[in-house]
């Protein structure tokens, strides 16, 4: 007996390459140049409530005070607040246009003196070793820094 054919529905794949150019703006350009040229994390602090923002912002959300000229330098060391394992199955990453596994663990780090880096790579460590409270330090790319957060390749445990 012949199989009953369902209706045919047409599905049209559309592939488009779209190039975007996002402007970092005044405040982020200052911070990015420090990353690119000096391997430093600098950011803005609200002069009113003293909150340290990361990334820097021109205006404090809570106080609505302009802070685009209030810069502080952040420490290169800190404490691990939280962490997740490496991606276990390939997940789509639009930055690269494909499914990828990220073999690094990620974690949030409270830098000494203030400022929190969220969900950054943690390297030079077995993910099973990770513990909240671990002391970590920033490891920067020596060449090829462009002013993106990836210039700071990862944080690694400080091993005495």
């Amino acid at each position: 007996m012949a199989e009953k054919q369902g209706p045919e529905y047409i599905v049209l794949p559309t592939l488009g390459r779209i190039d975007y150019n996002w402007t970092a703006g005044r405040v982020w350009s200052i911070a990015k140049k420090a990353m690119r040229d000096e391997k430093k994390l600098i950011t803005t602090q609200c002069p009113s409530c003293k909150t340290i923002y990361l990334p820097p912002q021109p205006v404090c959300g809570e106080c609505y005070v302009f802070m685009g000229d209030n810069w502080i330098e952040l420490a290169q060391t800190g404490t691990l607040l939280n962490f997740t394992g490496p991606t276990a199955i390939p997940l789509f990453d639009p930055a690269f246009g494909k499914h990828m596994v990220d073999e690094y663990a990620h974690g949030s780090i409270e830098l000494d003196g203030g400022g929190v880096v969220t969900m950054h790579r943690i390297g030079e460590v077995d993910p099973n070793e990770l513990k909240v409270g671990m002391r970590v330090e920033a490891v920067w790319k020596n060449d090829g820094r462009v002013g993106r957060l990836e210039d700071l390749m990862y944080f690694r445990p400080i091993r005495e």
Partner: protein, 394 residues
Amino acid sequence: MSQRVAIVGCGQTYHKARRPDVNETELVNEAVRTALEDAQISLRDIDSVFTANMDGFEGVHLSDCWMCDGSGAYMKPGLKATTGGTTGASIFFAGVDYVASGLFDTELVIGYQKHEEGNVTAGLLGGQEQAWVKGMMQGAIGIFANIAQGYMMESGAREEHAAMLRLKADRNALRNPYAQLRLNLESVEQVLQSPYLIPPLRLLDMCPNSSGAAAVVLASEDRAKRISGKPVWVADTVSQHMGWSPVSSSMMGFGAPGERRLESTHTVCARKLYRNHGITNPRKQIDVFEMYEPSIWGEMKWYEDFLFCEKGEGWKLVEQGVTEIDGELPVNPSGGVVSTNPIGATALLRVLEAALQVRGDAGEHQVPRDVKTAIATGWGGINWTTMVLLSSTL
């Protein structure tokens, strides 16, 4: 003096992973026809049409414009909303306010998404400030992996608790013919075999991407009483957001402690809503809670944020069965977002499902009690909370 507003009709599609048999217009049209039929009115009676969708996910912007014939919006005033996970709630709020203004009497509010046509993660990451955020932001999956890890470390919750909660969602979804994922999950052990996406977050801990639509008919008091024998009154709407304020991201740390721990937008909204309505014991005074939970870990932690219990005790409510369909405070008798998630509709579905409960019309997933008060929440962006309080009486 603002008009009182009621929900007088509800309609949704059977949510699926794929709907190759319909385009977006046809999908929305199904939900709209169902809602109009439920309300026993025709499109002629509708003053305005409010549409909601996350355009970026399917890469079709102004989708409300392309479908105005099928949505019922042709030659009618209205609005469009695109606000992340809260999309369906935001458009509901807009609709409610239009009726409350006294300028409109009967409205259609629509939310929809056709996920299979695009890519959510791509859409999510493209929606952030690309000039700062690095490639490995990992979207909602990364956020909830962090929440899961942070919550376990702080509260003593274990992966077994997430598994138990996932089983509740599936039990409820099996009673809801509109839900997408109806998996017949059998045991905690089975759920714990679900593969990790980003440890400790498993595939089953996260919501799916569904293709589906929902529509709700709103009416002013006089019109509502004429249209419906069981109007569901919108007693209040509350929202707060901090969006992707870098302060909120770092200080909330997605579960991490920090020097200055901000209260979540959930808690800020809940305090306001509860205070304005004399709710001092939500577990006793609310009959049903449809929570927007993109991950089962979100649900568990947010029992605390919505003030059902003390900090660190959410997992205890899971052990005690407090939020089961026949529990003290049923949460997500519909199966929730982990079972069904057409993003543009999802927050509206929480309101719709809560409304069905108030009406006593939720069929097999009706909670076994007299429902006088129900709450529906939305969450999105990051850190954008909406709460709706529904009541069976004025």
